[in-house]
């Protein structure tokens, strides 16, 4: 096998046994890697109804055939399990420099089963894998854990994926922290790691990733690197990273503010990318094999929020710890973000549950008696930081919030449910769908719950007609006999958005299986199916075509959905909170708009061949070679 390492590592904590298995060729060929592997393995091995935080759940780390190579953004990997937030398909994705090391140690994927009796970590090297005692690391935050491991193993080249205290305490939205600053954030996978008492996975290897045609692969990778670096949309990402979006998104009314009551934040300029660059940035960093250096390092030198903020303050955190809570104190956001990284939690969900609680306070549903005397009035930076500590340590009121917005809302019942901004148990991330209709749809169709990256349909955000034309014109003509423009580029017009979301989901599923960053395949839109097919051919020797890759992307996406369907999900779960569909956006550039969800969803279901229950048709399952899955789901002709 070329591209792949040809081995899966199976770590069974219950039996305290480690096994190396050959990577099945059909799995490699038909599912590529990353999400593809994870979807197939979870489907085959995690039966319906298991407790996500119990030993029957399995946690998967998966790379793909391009990881560890010069191909741009090849430093990512996927983590997947049944999610303790959604009780369905759970996945996270992280950059940094860890993923290539899994391959340099000789493996494509790792499957963790069972639960250890005491805290452990997994040590990977050229000599194989070893389960080691991690009692001395339990209780440490993710940064301390990373530094301690590098120090005690006397290896500064060691890369790590660890949990902080939030994962240990089974905070339902705990994250896995990679090399300190990169985060496999969503779906609560840090809690799954914690439930297995797996504190860390460390890797440092030196095996080659073998390539079918090294000369061609090198040439094509170098040209792809250059294309990405010089793409017209790359410059702003290079200059500011994702925080560049703060001002733009607030301007177009897509920046969730005050628990999504509104889509623009009047103080956006006070927490913007431009401001961060000017006042707090000390350096920049790239993930492995990426030319875009979108990660910026922030330090606050003095004052009450004095802190080494580290890398990875993203747009999502500026929204979740800022506008969503009406918090305009940028230094408190830098501080709280670093805390979230140390504790190891998803900022989207922790911000979401805080915003939810603040709105309940505003509406009088929560009072000082409920919160342990914490005043949850909007926009108090001290309270934001205090709540991060309390939630991640499961102290007092924080212990309740650590269950996540959806469970808190269920527990309170009644009017509180109106303010629950979640889909399938995940909090709405940094896009108000009323300001970009395709994102409203994406939050609903994403298999892991409210998510922007499962489709990553960013092209209609501020309307990039050329790129939209290039990617979707052919499909619009094929399906509707009409031109994608101008409606496709109008973020407020639901027209064509189902098609754009669907196609983007398939490309994203391929990106998540290669595994590469969507800041190469979706934004900037530099790499598409044809490029991926060619890179795969040079790397693996298998003649993938664009058509086949589209089919594989669809197969992976549908298999993830099937995982949810088996767990009892159906069309009724493909819903947005009423706020987005019934309350018109109150001001700003998207004023008066709601998400026309039903209209878009009907068309999306048609394009995805889903019946009214939300199940794929038997014909579609045949086309995707998922007959066995269809049979298990009881889908028949």
């Amino acid at each position: 096998m070329k591209g792949w390492m040809g081995k899966i590592l199976r770590v069974d904590f219950g039996e305290e046994r480690i096994r190396e298995e050959d990577l099945p060729e059909q799995l490699a060929r038909n599912y590529i890697g990353g999400n593809g592997f994870a979807a197939r393995i979870l489907w085959d091995e995690v039966p319906k109804g298991v407790d996500p935080l119990g030993p029957e759940n399995k946690l998967i780390f998966a790379t793909g055939p391009l990881n560890g190579t010069l191909w741009p953004t090849s430093g990512r990997f996927k983590i997947a399990a049944k999610s303790p937030l959604s009780n369905g398909w759970g996945e996270g994705n992280a950059g940094g420099h860890f993923a290539p090391e899994i391959k340099y140690c000789g493996f494509d994927a790792i499957i963790f089963e069972g639960a250890a009796k005491y805290p452990v970590y997994l040590h990977l090297s050229d000599d194989g894998a070893e389960i080691r005692n991690a009692k001395h690391l339990w209780g440490k935050d993710s940064w301390e854990t990373h530094e301690s491991l590098r120090k005690e193993l006397k290896n500064q080249g060691l890369h790590t994926a660890v949990i902080g205290q939030a994962g240990e305490k089974l905070v339902r939205f705990a994250a896995v922290m990679v090399d300190k600053y990169a985060t496999a954030a969503r779906s609560g996978l840090g809690a799954v790691m914690g439930s297995k008492k797996l504190k860390a996975v460390v890797a440092c290897g030196s095996k080659d990733v073998l390539i079918h045609n090294p000369g061609k692969f090198y040439e094509f990778s170098v040209s792809a690197q250059r294309r990405l670096l010089t793409h017209q949309f790359s410059e702003s990402l290079i200059n500011y990273g994702t925080p560049l979006l703060v001002s733009i998104m607030s301007d177009i009314g897509r920046f969730p503010t005050k628990n999504c009551q509104q889509g623009s934040f009047p103080y956006a300029d006070e927490i913007s990318g431009e401001l961060l660059a000017k006042k707090y940035r000390v350096r920049e960093e790239s993930c492995f094999a990426c030319p875009l250096r979108c990660k910026k390092y922030h330090v606050i030198n003095d004052g009450r929020w004095k802190t080494d903020g580290g890398l990875g303050l993203e747009y999502e955190s500026l929204h979740a710890l800022g506008s969503l809570l009406w918090n305009r104190d940028v230094e408190s956001i830098i501080y709280a973000n670093a805390l979230c990284n140390k504790y190891g939690v998803d900022t989207d969900d922790i911000g979401g549950v805080m915003g939810f609680a603040m709105e309940l306070w505003e509406k009088g549903i929560l009072t000082a008696k409920d919160t342990g005397e914490i005043d949850l009035s909007w926009g108090n930076p001290d309270v934001v930081v205090e709540l991060v500590h309390e939630i991640c340590r499961r102290k007092g009121f924080g212990d309740i919030l650590a269950e996540g917005t959806h469970r808190v809302a269920e527990r309170l019942g009644g009017e509180a449910r109106r303010y629950e901004m979640t889909v399938k148990g995940l909090d709405i991330p940094g896009q108000d769908g009323r300001g970009q209709k395709s994102m409203g749809l994406s939050h609903v169709t994403s298999n892991r719950g409210a998510d922007h990256l499962t489709s990553a349909e960013f092209l209609s955000e501020v309307g990039f007609p050329e790129a939209i034309n290039e990617r979707f014109e052919h499909r619009a003509q094929e399906l509707y006999g009409r031109s994608i423009l101008p409606e496709g580029a109008d973020r407020l017009n639901p027209k064509f958005k189902p098609l754009m979301v669907l196609d983007s989901e398939h490309m994203a599923a391929v990106a998540d299986s290669l595994v590469v960053c969507k800041f190469s395949t979706h934004w900037p839109p530099a790499i598409y199916f044809e490029d991926a097919a060619r890179a795969l051919y040079y790397a693996t020797g298998i003649k993938y075509t664009e058509k086949e890759l589209r089919l594989i992307g669809e197969r992976i996406f549908v298999l993830e959905r099937a995982f949810n369907l088996r767990e009892g999900f159906s069309a009724k779960d493909d819903r947005l909170p009423d706020r987005f569909t019934k309350e018109p956006s109150p001001g700003g550039a998207s004023k008066g708009h709601v998400v026309e969800l039903d209209e878009m969803l009907v068309e999306y279901y048609r394009l995805r061949s889903l019946d009214q229950r939300g199940y794929p048709t038997v014909e579609k399952m045949k086309e995707l070679s998922l007959e066995d899955v269809a049979a298990d789901l009881g889908i028949d002709g």
């Binding site: 030196s206 350096r283 094999a289 030319p291």
Partner: protein
């Protein structure tokens, strides 16, 4: 005669490892930064990165008991045929820029092929050509 010295500006380095991958691809035909002759030492804090690579000072060539290291196209190269794997070059390198690399027979050092220079996305790498005279040693000339 002249040597070609690849020079790194640590302040511009963003740690992407593209130089390491390029080196391993071009010189060893593999995707594996552990075989690279350029090495990014990462200090995960605010300090950033330090790039380690040979400055072609020629000390290793002088000390090699087998005379297996010679200047070829601007860079000192280790002749695999003559090298007896004694490791003296690794020990004497004043900037620790010659390494034993896993699964590579002889020590690895930069041969000034310059492939990394053009692939660096931040222009942190450049090269200088330096005139070389036996008596006075290296004399800077851009």
């Amino acid at each position: 005669m002249s040597v070609v010295r690849v020079v790194a500006d640590d302040k511009k380095c963003v740690g992407c490892e593209i130089c390491e991958l390029t080196c391993a691809n071009v010189n060893f035909g593999v995707n594996n930064p552990k075989k690279s002759a350029i090495y990014i030492s990462r200090l995960a804090g605010p300090e950033g990165f330090h790039v380690v690579l040979c400055n072609q000072c020629g000390r290793c060539a002088k000390e090699c008991p087998e005379e297996a290291i010679a200047l070829v196209n601007g860079g000192y190269r280790i002749d695999e045929e003559r090298c007896t794997l004694c490791g003296i070059c690794v020990e004497v390198c004043p900037i620790e820029a010659i390494w034993w690399r896993p699964n590579v027979k002889t020590p690895v050092k930069c041969i000034s092929c310059k492939a990394c220079v053009s692939n660096c996305p931040t222009q942190a790498l450049s090269y200088k050509e330096i005139a070389f005279q036996v008596k006075s040693g290296l004399r800077g000339k851009e």
